[in-house]
């Protein structure tokens, strides 16, 4: 080559200065977000499924559950958003898994960049997608008669709580993405895990009618706490306890899965 080599700042051993690492992380996040532009189907995944859930729950189940679609929407919309947040973390797992199996991670690892940039970049971008899906569902809810009676502050705090929880669950997603054989397995695993967890919580129903043993579980189920907290923040009411428990769960999930995920990531990347 005639011209000089272009390279990012890197020490002999491969360490990258923090500022360069942050910039590389943002570049990786850009990569995840710009992909949406060319893959409208991904946007459909992020948008249509939540929209469908809102419609189905409101109009099919609403009358039966709460007497009228509008009344049920008020209860279920926060739960639907919570469920969708959990499902969306699995897109993180699938995307990471695809990068791993398609050799994209090999290319990235052969570059003089921060080891964590591909991972944190992906998670950051996916959190932005979480916010997008949440806004979409809230917007749809408002059009169907949902009202945020907890005020703008409650709305913002609720969004923040969801993002924090999603960030914690992302480490579970990273682990799954690293160890799964292919993206389809990730999806299958996610559905068998997330469906029972969300349906045995207070996300869609008041748990009073569940048998005692199931109530015992749903009382500790993190989705119950998160749904109650988010519902409380949107609608107004006492939220201190469920918010606290949601944060405890988020911290617990992160504490357990962050080291496991990082070990799996380092082994592969």
């Amino acid at each position: 080559m005639t011209a000089t080599t272009i390279t990012a700042p890197v020490t002999a051993s491969g360490r990258v200065p923090p500022l360069a690492g942050v910039r590389q992380t943002f570049t990786m996040a850009w990569r995840s977000l710009v992909a949406v532009k060319h893959n409208p189907l991904e946007l459909v995944d992020y948008s249509i499924t939540p929209i469908m859930f809102v419609f189905l729950f409101t109009f099919v189940l609403g009358g039966q559950m709460a007497g009228s679609p509008e009344a049920y929407l008020k209860y279920a919309l926060p739960g639907i958003i919570v469920q969708n947040t959990l499902f969306m973390t699995m897109y993180t797992a699938m995307a990471l898994n695809t990068d791993l199996t398609k050799g994209v991670f090999d290319r990235l690892r052969s570059l003089p960049i921060a080891r964590s940039a591909p991972l944190i970049g992906r998670i950051t971008a996916d959190l932005a997608k979480h916010v997008w899906a949440m806004l979409l569902m809230i917007g749809l809810g408002l059009a169907l008669g949902f009202r945020i009676t907890g005020g703008f502050g409650g709305f913002l705090l609720g969004a923040l709580l969801l993002v924090v929880f999603a960030a914690a669950v992302s480490w579970t997603a990273v682990l799954i993405g690293m160890v799964a054989g292919d993206a389809e397995k990730v999806q299958a695993f996610a559905f068998t895990l997330i469906f029972p967890i969300t349906f045995t919580s207070s996300a869609f129903v008041v748990v009073d009618t569940m048998p005692g043993w199931l109530q015992a579980w749903s009382d500790v189920n993190p989705v119950t706490h998160l749904s109650d907290a988010y519902r409380g923040l949107l609608l107004g009411g006492a939220v201190a306890e469920p918010v606290l428990w949601s944060l405890v769960w988020a911290a617990g999930i992160a504490l357990v899965f962050y080291p496991l995920a990082m070990r799996a990531y380092r082994a592969k990347v």
């Binding site: 080559m1 272009i6 491969g14 893959n39 398609k102 090999d106 990235l108 570059l111 003089p112």
Partner: protein
């Protein structure tokens, strides 16, 4: 002599199997070293160690004089890697894929764009610059992948089976690009299962099998090493094939083989040709073609390893083998 790429006693174990069992190899600056071997020989493992993706269990590997373990950062800043699978982001356009690498390497946006444009132009991808890579043909993907490995203008390239699964036309295009890069002063380590590819592109060849080097030298040296000439004949009538084979085997020994409609045998004795002609004449077998030629690298390989270089499952563990690629690969290797 300065070596751009150098390994001494390289060892890598995966659980019970020894992927590399003490490999020595060296590539002179500005040359192409062909690393040749069948599936599972350890080619990809060697490349992954050089590209800092794997740590060796023993021995040393140096790139531009830098140890791949202790000085991984410098090595990463020096090399370009094109893996066995085109590692492009399918959802990004040609431009965006290159822009991503340029930005990661710290180029300002405008320069990264300019560099992407340059490479797309050089790799004849300008028309596809704005299309998502998933719409690209196999050959285009490989070209984009190679372009991505060149964004940082690396002086040393690792190409792991860069043409596997490509049709002959696309393969020829990639060969031309590689020749251009080396003419510009780059050093390349190229792994391949295609012997003619190593023959055409490599200045030196290292043949490995089961993690060990079994031969090395310039392509011509390797061919000369295994005796040089091959007798090849084709009976006019297909029904005579077995009889003709028996006659050749009588004169040349058990290395005489039937390949399609032809019979080939290594020539060790100059008397072989006349002896075969006499025997065929005596038996009244009409011959359509009869020739003496230099042995191909294929035959060298057979003589060295005792088995043919058959393309099959790509060697990388955990990788998703593309069925279509494999079928294509087999078709190509026959042509």
């Amino acid at each position: 002599m300065t070596y751009a790429i150098e390994a001494e006693g390289l060892v890598k174990r995966f659980k019970d199997t020894e992927a590399l069992a003490g490999v020595d190899l060296a590539a002179r600056k500005g040359t192409v070293l062909g690393l040749l071997g069948p599936n599972g020989a350890g080619k990809t493992t060697a490349v992954r160690i050089f590209a800092t993706l794997l740590r060796p269990d023993g021995g040393t590997a140096r790139v531009a004089g830098h140890d791949v373990v202790r000085e991984a950062g410098v090595v990463r800043a020096t090399v370009g890697l094109t893996g066995q699978y085109a590692a492009v982001d399918e959802n990004l356009t040609g431009t965006e894929n290159l822009l991503l690498i340029g930005r990661l390497l710290g180029l300002p946006r405008r320069q990264a764009k300019a560099r992407a444009g340059e490479l797309l132009d050089r790799f004849q991808l300008t028309d596809a610059a704005g299309r998502a890579a998933k719409t690209f043909s196999g050959g285009m993907r490989r070209r984009l992948d190679l372009a991505a490995s060149l964004v940082g203008r690396p002086s040393i390239l690792f190409l792991d089976e860069p043409t596997t699964g490509l049709d002959p036309h696309s393969r020829g295009e990639l060969w031309d690009l590689l020749r251009g890069l080396v003419a510009d002063g780059a050093t390349a380590l190229l792994t391949t299962q295609y012997l003619n590819e190593a023959d055409v592109l490599a200045d030196d060849i290292v043949v490995i099998d089961k993690g060990r080097v079994i031969a090395e030298g310039a392509p011509d040296q390797l061919k000369a090493q295994v005796g040089g000439q091959v007798l090849e004949l084709r009976p006019i009538l297909g029904q005579d094939l077995a009889r003709a084979h028996a006659l050749v085997a009588q004169a040349a020994g058990p290395e005489a083989r039937i390949e399609g409609e032809r019979i080939t045998a290594p020539v060790k004795d100059p008397e072989l040709m006349p002896a075969v002609v006499r025997a065929l004449d005596r038996e009244g077998i009409a011959v359509g073609e009869l020739a003496l030629r230099r042995s191909s690298l294929d035959e060298v390989f057979l003589a060295l390893t005792g088995h043919r270089a058959e393309p099959g499952e790509p060697e990388r563990d955990g990788g998703a083998a593309d069925r279509d690629d494999e079928a294509l690969e087999k078709a190509v290797s026959r042509s």
